[in-house]
């Protein structure tokens, strides 16, 4: 026979001003199975908690209902008090008569009645509660970082410095990301490669960091502390262990006219290639789509020439299984290409380029060795027009947001151009100059005042080619929208920053939310900026929204701090609210018929099958089995089970039914 205690809290006057707490307690005391009831002004206070503990001991209570506020804040408080008095945590329930009753109703007889009804439902629930134990899970102290740009490198280095293992997964043949393509960085104009490449090397050499380049995340299951990942190592066709990175293969490859991704199409590469000279690892890959050997079975020059025999045409993609306790997404961004702009020529004018292409032109390691020359004929441009907000802040093009980095890099481009071509004139069409950041506004002013960039406030309507010049038609809105026409030699579009190709698929594999532009969503825009809504998965850098380098690095260190904080625990506890398949005495064993419906609908892949054998080892029945480590307690299987064989611990069908009956029987 149950012996339940009911404790009604006044919450100062928060509850008692509209609910007659004393009467609720008295009425509750008369419910069958209730052995004790009381009301008190502040149940969560020390005397209130003592009252509960004493009552448990004195009345030998088998369950407790605290009728007070929302369980969100104080359920742990009261469950802890019960546990201290020797009662199992999970035999304590709360009836929320504050948010769900006193705060939303006037002082009235019906309000008190509703409070009592809420108490009564919880009494029924407690009557059917079973003692449960929290689930303890170990924490695997390895982190997987997806994306090897500056953000991913920073996360990896920080977590590794914290003494934990890191696997850095990069889709391209080299780590480095967009930052390795940049010439100089704002607002200091320090060389991007000079500050990044040492970090790339450090990441490669760190004993705690394993690099997996040319690799992609295939699938993920598990949960915080215990993720299982499958990573596809794409066939490099080059044995990384044998290859010394001598580069003979890349110089001898006859297939030399493939547009280089790293150079943004401004230069060519070979079919076997290292993306750039400072690549990490500095080992080539064969681009099988463009390799003569893979297309026709002829050639094989690289294989014949390689002094160490590292070329392996037979290499296959390899799936590597990895266990990790935390995952950090740092997959970065992309920029729209010039063919995105019908009014700027659909990408058919060679001298209309993107900001990222301009970075390559300005880079000392770029196709022109840092000289500003236009792609069509290699001439040094005398007039260059820079167009900010190309695609950004443009709802009609489906990109209403600000790409954030363009104002600054456009000012930098104008400056770099002027530094390299003293006689040249840079024009900048802009809508607003967004230069909020340390030394940012000063930087844009410098572009205008010291380097003579001609800023024109207006957007460019269209661009067309005429006699080898690009006619740029814009307007000066500070002069009432007066049309401005500039015959430029080159046009640089600060094209919109967008989420990476494949972001949506990756987010779905990891159960991470994303916004309508397929940037990954943080758990809270202010207080949880590097967490996702999936515990144990964190965000760093521009995969979340356009970010510049300082911001990406700051977010990366933030994510690393979260990972190190998680890894400070050897085990994690989880609520034992998980689904369970019932078991009965032989010869039935379980009412589960093994139909498998639950297996297919479980969103966490937590269900498989289990065979029940007799003493001789013969299989007598196959039933569903739920892995409590994977189960998230969502209850989907419970509602789908046709034979009602699955129950959620702490929320069994019977309990919920009894609660509903108690609610409907109110008089």
């Amino acid at each position: 026979m149950a012996r339940i205690g009911v404790f009604v809290c006044h919450c100062g006057e928060n509850i008692s001003s509209t609910v007659d707490c004393e009467r609720v307690a008295q009425q509750a005391g008369r419910l069958p199975g209730v052995a004790f009831s009381a009301d008190y002004k502040y149940m969560c206070s020390d005397p209130g908690q003592s009252m509960i503990k004493e009552a448990i001991a004195e009345h030998r209570l088998t369950g407790v209902v605290v009728s007070a506020c929302s369980p969100r804040m104080h359920e742990p408080t009261f469950r802890k008090a019960c546990a201290e008095a020797g009662l199992n945590h999970y035999l304590c329930e709360m009836a929320n008569i504050r948010e769900q009753c006193s705060w939303v109703h006037p002082k009235d007889e019906a309000t008190t009645q509703k409070a009592f009804d809420l108490v009564r439902t919880q009494v029924e629930k407690v009557r059917n509660d079973n003692p449960l134990e929290p689930i303890r899970v170990p924490v695997n102290k390895t982190a997987v970082v997806v994306g090897g740009g500056v953000a991913g490198i920073q996360v990896a280095l920080d977590v590794a410095a914290g003494g934990h293992k890191v696997i850095l997964v990069e889709r391209d043949p080299s780590i480095g990301g967009h930052m390795s393509q940049l010439s100089e960085t704002f607002p200091t104009l320090d060389c991007s490669q000079c500050i990044l490449t040492p970090r790339m090397v450090e990441a490669a050499q760190h004993p705690n960091i394993t690099l997996m380049t040319y690799s992609e995340l295939e699938s993920m299951d598990g949960f915080i502390g215990n993720f299982n990942l499958r990573i596809r190592r794409k066939a490099r066709s080059v044995d990384e262990k044998l290859c010394t990175g001598c580069g003979l293969c890349t110089t001898k490859c006859p297939n030399k006219k493939i547009p280089s991704e790293f150079e943004q199409g401004l230069a060519f590469r070979t079919a076997i290639y290292t993306p750039f000279p400072q690549a990490v690892p500095n080992k080539p890959v064969i681009d099988r789509d463009n390799c003569t050997w893979f297309k026709t079975g002829k050639c094989g020059v690289c294989g014949k020439l390689c002094p160490t025999g590292a070329i392996n045409y037979q290499q296959q993609d390899e799936i590597v299984e990895v266990k990790a306790g935390a995952i950090v997404l740092a997959t970065g961004f992309e920029v729209k290409k010039t063919d995105f702009f019908p009014e700027y020529g659909y990408g058919r004018y060679r001298d209309v380029i993107t900001g990222l292409q301009f970075e390559r032109l300005a880079s000392a390691s770029g196709p022109t060795r840092g000289e500003i020359r236009r792609p069509s004929d290699g001439r040094v441009p005398e007039k260059v027009v820079f167009v900010a907000c190309a695609g950004s802040r443009d709802p009609a093009k489906g990109i209403p947001y600000c790409s954030k980095i363009c104002c600054m890099y456009t000012a930098k481009h104008a400056m770099l151009y002027k530094h390299k071509v003293h006689e040249g004139t840079p024009y900048v069409f802009y809508m607003d100059i967004r230069a909020a950041g340390k030394n940012y506004d000063e930087f844009t002013r410098r572009a205008i005042e010291e380097d003579g960039a001609k800023y024109i406030r207006g957007r460019v309507s269209n661009i067309y080619e005429k006699n080898g010049k690009l006619v740029v038609r814009g307007a000066d809105t500070l002069l009432g929208g007066k049309p401005v026409e500039i015959e430029a030699d080159m046009v640089v579009l600060a094209t919109a920053a967008v989420s990476c190709d494949g972001s949506e698929e990756l987010a779905q594999k990891l159960h991470v939310s994303y916004d309508s532009y397929k940037f990954f969503a943080e758990a809270h825009p202010k207080l949880k900026p590097v967490e996702t809504n999936t515990a144990g998965i964190y965000l760093a850098g521009a995969c979340q929204a356009p970010k510049d380098i300082p911001e990406s690095v700051a977010a990366a260190s933030g994510a690393a701090a979260k990972v190190i904080g998680l890894f400070a625990n050897d085990t994690l506890t989880r609520e034992p609210v998980v689904a369970r398949v019932n078991r009965t005495a032989p010869p039935i064993f379980s009412t589960c018929m093994g139909c498998g419906l639950c297996i297919s609908i479980c969103p966490y892949q937590a269900i498989d099958t289990e065979e029940i054998t007799d003493r001789s080892g013969k299989v007598v029945k196959t039933i569903a089995r739920i892995n409590p480590g994977l189960c998230q307690g969502c209850g989907t299987c419970v509602s789908f089970c046709r034979s009602k064989s699955i129950d959620l611990e702490g929320y069994s069908n019977k309990q919920v039914y009894q609660e509903v009956v108690a609610m409907l029987n109110s008089d």
Partner: protein, 287 residues
């Protein structure tokens, strides 16, 4: 024999007779019978939508209602201005039921959105393009500048015709006629359109830029699908020449005139004898 509805519009009955002649001659050559929408009226053109929105919807609505009444499923509307007004009217009336009921009340006839409105290029694409390889007997040999103007391509979300920057449909047809359509940036720039009579000097300037650009880029003819563009580029040539300070000789041909010439029809059938700027077919064709 395909039988289609046909709305010539006022221009094709008057200032742009050569357009009507070339459309009808081409249709006949390609086995299409064009039956006029019974007792059709003017679409109201720019005047109506500048001065009176309700009227600008009711006049085209009557035309659509008449076509519906005659059981026409497709109507060919060679005039780009009429095509635009009819399409926009149909679009707006079937977005807003109240507006439709008011308009039906004014017109006194029921409306339906089932009448498909074809501009001249769509007509050519659907009923003529496929037969061109066999029917072209006198291919073009020159460069041409396909000029679409405003009304064929804008507003794009209503018309959904070709791409609104650098459209290609006419270029494709001209290529089939043997011509080499040039890549030029004035395909959809405005010729001045309705300002033709009210502010002729502005039309001379706007159309002048188009003529100059086409000529400078080596085109032997400008190809159009709109009587307003045609009259501005052709009939207004003296004013254009005055603006340019030069005597431009580049003729302006309707797309259907170009097809007619390439298929061996003469200047009477193609209506080119009515053009103001002389069409020198010998200079244009492949010899």
């Amino acid at each position: 024999m395909n039988k289609l509805g046909f709305y010539p519009g006022c221009s094709l009955e008057g200032t742009s007779r050569e357009y009507a002649e070339s459309v009808l001659a081409t249709a006949e050559l390609f086995g299409v019978e064009l039956a006029q929408v019974p007792d059709w009226n003017c679409c109201g053109a720019t005047a109506a939508h500048n001065l009176n929105r309700a009227l600008s919807l009711a006049l085209p609505a009557r035309i659509l209602a008449k076509a519906l009444d005659a059981g026409m499923k497709e109507i060919v509307v060679p005039c780009a201005a009429c095509y635009n007004r009819l399409s926009v009217t149909q679009h707006e009336l079937f977005l807003d039921e109240k507006l439709r009921r008011e308009t039906e009340e004014a017109v006194g006839l029921p409306l339906s959105d089932k009448v498909e409105i074809l501009n001249v290029v769509q007509f050519v694409e659907r009923y003529i393009e496929g037969q061109l390889p066999e029917k072209v007997t006198q291919p073009f040999g020159s460069d041409v500048a396909c000029y679409y103007g405003c009304l064929l391509v804008r507003p794009h979300d209503v018309l959904q015709f070709d791409r609104q920057e650098d459209p290609q449909a006419m270029d494709r047809v001209m290529r089939l006629l043997g011509a080499n359509p040039i890549d030029w940036p004035f395909k959809t720039e405005c010729c001045g359109a309705s300002l033709s009579i009210g502010r002729t000097e502005l039309v001379a300037k706007l159309s002048g830029r188009i003529v100059r650009e086409a000529e400078e880029r080596g085109a032997g003819a400008i190809i159009v699908g709109c009587p307003m563009c045609h009259s501005n580029l052709d009939m207004r040539r003296p004013q254009i020449n005055k603006y340019l300070g030069a005597r431009s000789k580049i003729p302006t041909l309707y797309l259907t005139q170009a097809i007619a010439l390439a298929c061996g029809l003469d200047k009477k059938q193609s209506g080119t004898r009515r053009n103001f700027v002389k069409v020198d077919w010998n200079a244009l064709r492949n010899s």
